[in-house]
C-alpha cells in the first residue's frame, strides 16, 4: 500500500504556489459589509440558544 501513498502525498508547497498566485482580494468596504450582513443572518440561526447557561456551563479545569 505504501507505493500509492508515497506518490500521492500531502504537498503543502503546491498550495504555497497557489496562494502566491492568488493573494487575498482587497475587497471594497461595501462588499465586506454585505458579507458581514449575510454572516450575521446565519449567526442568528446557528447561535446557541440560552446563551447565558451555555456560557456558564463551560468550565475547563486541569489545563497546561
Amino acid at each position: 500500500m505504501a507505493e500509492r501513498e508515497q506518490i500521492k502525498k500531502p504537498s503543502p508547497r503546491r498550495d504555497a504556489a497557489k496562494a502566491e498566485q492568488a493573494p487575498a482580494k482587497s475587497e471594497s468596504g461595501e462588499k465586506l459589509k454585505a458579507d458581514l450582513d449575510d454572516l450575521l443572518d446565519e449567526i442568528d440561526d446557528v447561535l446557541e440558544t440560552n446563551a447565558e447557561d451555555f456560557v456558564k456551563s463551560y468550565i475547563q479545569k486541569g489545563g497546561q
Binding site: 500531502p10 502566491e20 450575521l40 446557528v46 475547563q60 489545563g63
Partner: protein, 504 residues
C-alpha cells in the same frame, strides 16, 4: 548556520458533553480518542487497542537552567495510565490532565505545520462524530479549539522548535521574550472580557488574546500555574548533545491559517536569526509580564511599551523592526533553515502584509487574524441587536467562534483565508510529512502496526517474535525521511527485513 527549524504544535482542546450533567472530562476525552482510533481503517490491523505511547524518554521536569537547584521547581507529573495513541500520520493523540490533546507530527516548515494543524482539526471533527455514535441518545460531545474557559482556567497550544544546543539559553530568553509579547498583535484569537483579578468587563470589553492574562512569570518550568513567558522545560526528544527543543507556551490556538502560519513562521525566523547571530536589535522590555497583558488589552495597537533602555516603542514598531532585520538576514544567510525560498519568502511577505494592514486598518486583515475576524462579528452583532459588551450572547459568540463542529463553528463562517486545501488536509490525517522523522514513524505504523509495541518522538519499539523487543532510536528529527528510508520501507516486506536493512 542555523539548524533546520523543525516544528510541532500541541493543542489541548476544550471539551463538553451536553445532554447530561453526569460526565467528567477525563472519561469523555478517553471515549473521544478511543472512538476515533478504533474506527480508523487500516494501520491498526488486528489490534484492538491503539499503539501505546512509550514513556521511557519523557522527562518534563528537566530544566534548561541547569544551574538551578533541583528543589527550585516541582517537576510536572506524567500521567502514563491515560489514553495515548500514535497515529499513522506521525501525530500523538492523548488525554492530558483533563483535556484531549493532539500533537502534530514534526514538520519541516510553517506551511507544513498549517497542513497538519488543519488535519488535527479534521481529526477532532471526525472524533466528535464517532464519539456521539458511542454516547447514549440525546448526548453530544463538543470540542473547542480555544485556550480559556473565560473563568480563570487556561489550557495550552504549545509550539516546539528545534534549536541548536550551542545557543546559550540566556540569548533565547532575551531574543524571544520581546517577540512573544509583541507578536500577539497577529497571533491573538480574541477574548470577550478579562480574567485578571481586579479588572471587570467595563475595563476590558474585548482583548487580543486568550492566553496573555494567564502568564505571571518571565522564565520558569511550570506550565499549569504561574505560567512563564519562556518555558525552561529541557526535554529535547532528540540528541541532547546537539539539540534543544524550545517549548513555547505563550501562543493562542488559531483558527485562521494565516495566523498559524505567521505564529510559527516568524518565530522560526527569529530563532534561526539568533543561531546565526543576526538579531542585532532585540528590543528588551523593561517588564515583560505586565507588558504582555498591556499588549493584549490594547485594541489600538498604539500603546507605548516601556523598553529596557528607558524609551518606549509600540508593538507594531517592534514587529516592523524584527521584520526589517529578518529581511536583511534572509539576504545574507538565505532561507534554507526555515524551509527554503518559497516558504521563507512567503513568511516575509505575509508578515509585512499583516503588519501593514494592522497599522493602516485592522479590519483589512479580518481574513488573516483571528482577533480581528472575531471582533468584526461581535461588533456587527452588537450593532444589529443594539446590545452592550456584557450581553451573554456576545460571550456565547466568543466561545462559538472556536466550536469545532462544522454545523456550529463561527470561525468556519467568518471568511478566513485558507493556505491549504481540505483535500490535502484530509489526506494528512493519515499520511505523515515526508521530510522529517515523522515519515518513518507514520509509515512503520501503516505497514507494520502489528509488530509495533510502542512509539514515541525519538524511538519505535518492535516485537520481532522470539527475540527480545528491538528499539530503533530516531534521535535526529531531520532523518527518517522519504529520502533516507523511503526505499527501505518500500522493499521490506517484514519487520525483520526492515530492521536488517536499517542495520538496527
Amino acid at each position: 548556520m542555523a539548524l533546520p527549524k523543525i516544528v510541532g504544535i500541541e493543542t489541548e482542546l476544550g471539551i463538553m458533553v451536553r445532554g447530561t450533567s453526569e460526565w467528567n472530562p477525563v472519561s469523555a476525552s478517553s471515549l473521544l480518542i478511543n472512538a476515533y482510533v478504533g474506527n480508523q481503517p487500516g494501520g491498526l490491523d488486528d489490534r484492538t487497542s491503539p499503539i501505546a505511547w512509550d514513556f521511557v524518554d519523557e522527562m518534563p521536569g528537566a530544566d534548561a537552567r541547569d544551574y538551578l537547584p533541583p528543589e527550585f521547581a516541582m517537576p510536572p507529573e506524567i500521567e502514563t495510565h491515560l489514553v495515548n495513541a500514535v497515529l499513522t500520520n506521525g501525530a500523538r493523540y492523548y488525554v492530558d490532565h483533563a483535556h484531549p490533546e493532539i500533537s502534530t507530527p514534526e514538520c519541516r516548515d510553517a506551511l507544513s505545520i498549517v497542513l497538519y494543524d488543519r488535519a488535527a482539526e479534521l481529526i477532532a471533527v471526525e472524533s466528535m462524530v464517532q464519539a456521539d455514535a458511542a454516547l447514549p441518545p440525546g448526548q453530544e460531545l463538543i470540542l473547542y479549539k480555544d485556550n480559556s474557559d473565560r473563568k480563570g482556567n487556561a489550557y495550552g497550544t504549545h509550539e516546539n522548535y528545534l534549536l541548536d544546543r550551542l545557543l546559550p539559553f540566556g540569548q533565547i530568553i532575551t531574543g524571544a521574550t520581546t517577540h512573544f509579547v509583541t507578536r500577539q498583535i497577529f497571533t491573538g484569537s480574541g477574548k470577550v472580557g478579562t480574567e485578571l483579578p481586579g479588572l471587570t468587563q467595563q475595563d476590558i470589553p474585548y482583548q487580543l488574546t486568550q492566553r496573555a492574562e494567564h502568564f505571571e512569570e518571565e522564565v520558569g518550568l511550570e506550565t499549569t500555574l504561574k505560567r512563564p513567558i519562556i518555558n525552561t522545560r529541557d526535554e529535547p526528544h532528540a540528541d541532547s548533545q546537539r539539540y534543544r527543543r524550545l517549548h513555547v507556551i505563550v501562543g493562542d490556538a488559531n483558527l485562521a491559517q494565516v495566523a498559524t502560519f505567521l505564529k510559527v513562521g516568524t518565530s522560526s525566523i527569529l530563532f534561526a536569526m539568533l543561531e546565526d547571530h543576526a538579531l542585532e536589535r532585540m528590543h528588551p522590555l523593561a517588564d515583560p509580564v505586565p507588558t504582555m497583558h498591556q499588549v493584549s488589552h490594547d485594541l489600538t495597537l498604539r500603546a507605548p511599551l516601556e523598553m529596557d533602555n528607558g524609551k518606549t516603542m509600540t508593538a507594531l514598531e517592534v514587529q516592523f523592526d524584527l521584520l526589517a532585520q529578518a529581511k536583511e538576514w534572509s539576504q545574507s544567510h538565505g532561507l534554507e533553515s526555515v524551509g527554503g525560498d518559497e516558504v521563507g519568502n512567503m513568511i516575509l511577505e505575509r508578515w509585512e502584509q499583516v503588519l501593514t494592514g494592522l497599522e493602516s486598518d485592522p479590519d483589512s486583515v479580518a481574513a488573516q487574524v483571528d482577533w480581528v475576524a472575531k471582533k468584526r462579528i461581535l461588533e456587527g452583532f452588537r450593532e444589529r441587536h443594539d446590545c452592550d459588551w456584557d450581553d451573554p450572547r456576545l460571550r456565547a459568540l466568543d466561545l462559538q467562534y472556536h466550536d469545532l463542529r462544522p454545523t456550529k463553528s463561527l470561525a468556519a463562517r467568518a471568511g478566513l483565508e485558507t493556505l491549504v486545501d481540505d483535500v490535502d488536509a484530509l489526506e494528512a490525517c493519515h499520511e505523515p510529512p515526508e521530510d522529517t522523522r515523522a515519515y518513518f514513524r507514520g509509515k512503520c505504523l501503516q505497514k507494520f502496526a502489528s509488530s509495533v509495541v510502542a512509539a514515541n518522538w525519538d524511538s519505535i519499539v518492535f516485537d520481532v517474535g522470539d527475540d527480545p523487543l528491538r528499539r530503533v532510536p530516531m534521535l535526529e528529527p531531520g532523518r527518517g525521511t522519504v529520502e533516507h528510508v523511503g526505499a527501505i520501507l518500500e522493499e521490506a516486506s517484514t519487520v525483520n527485513e526492515l530492521l536488517d536493512k536499517l542495520g538496527a
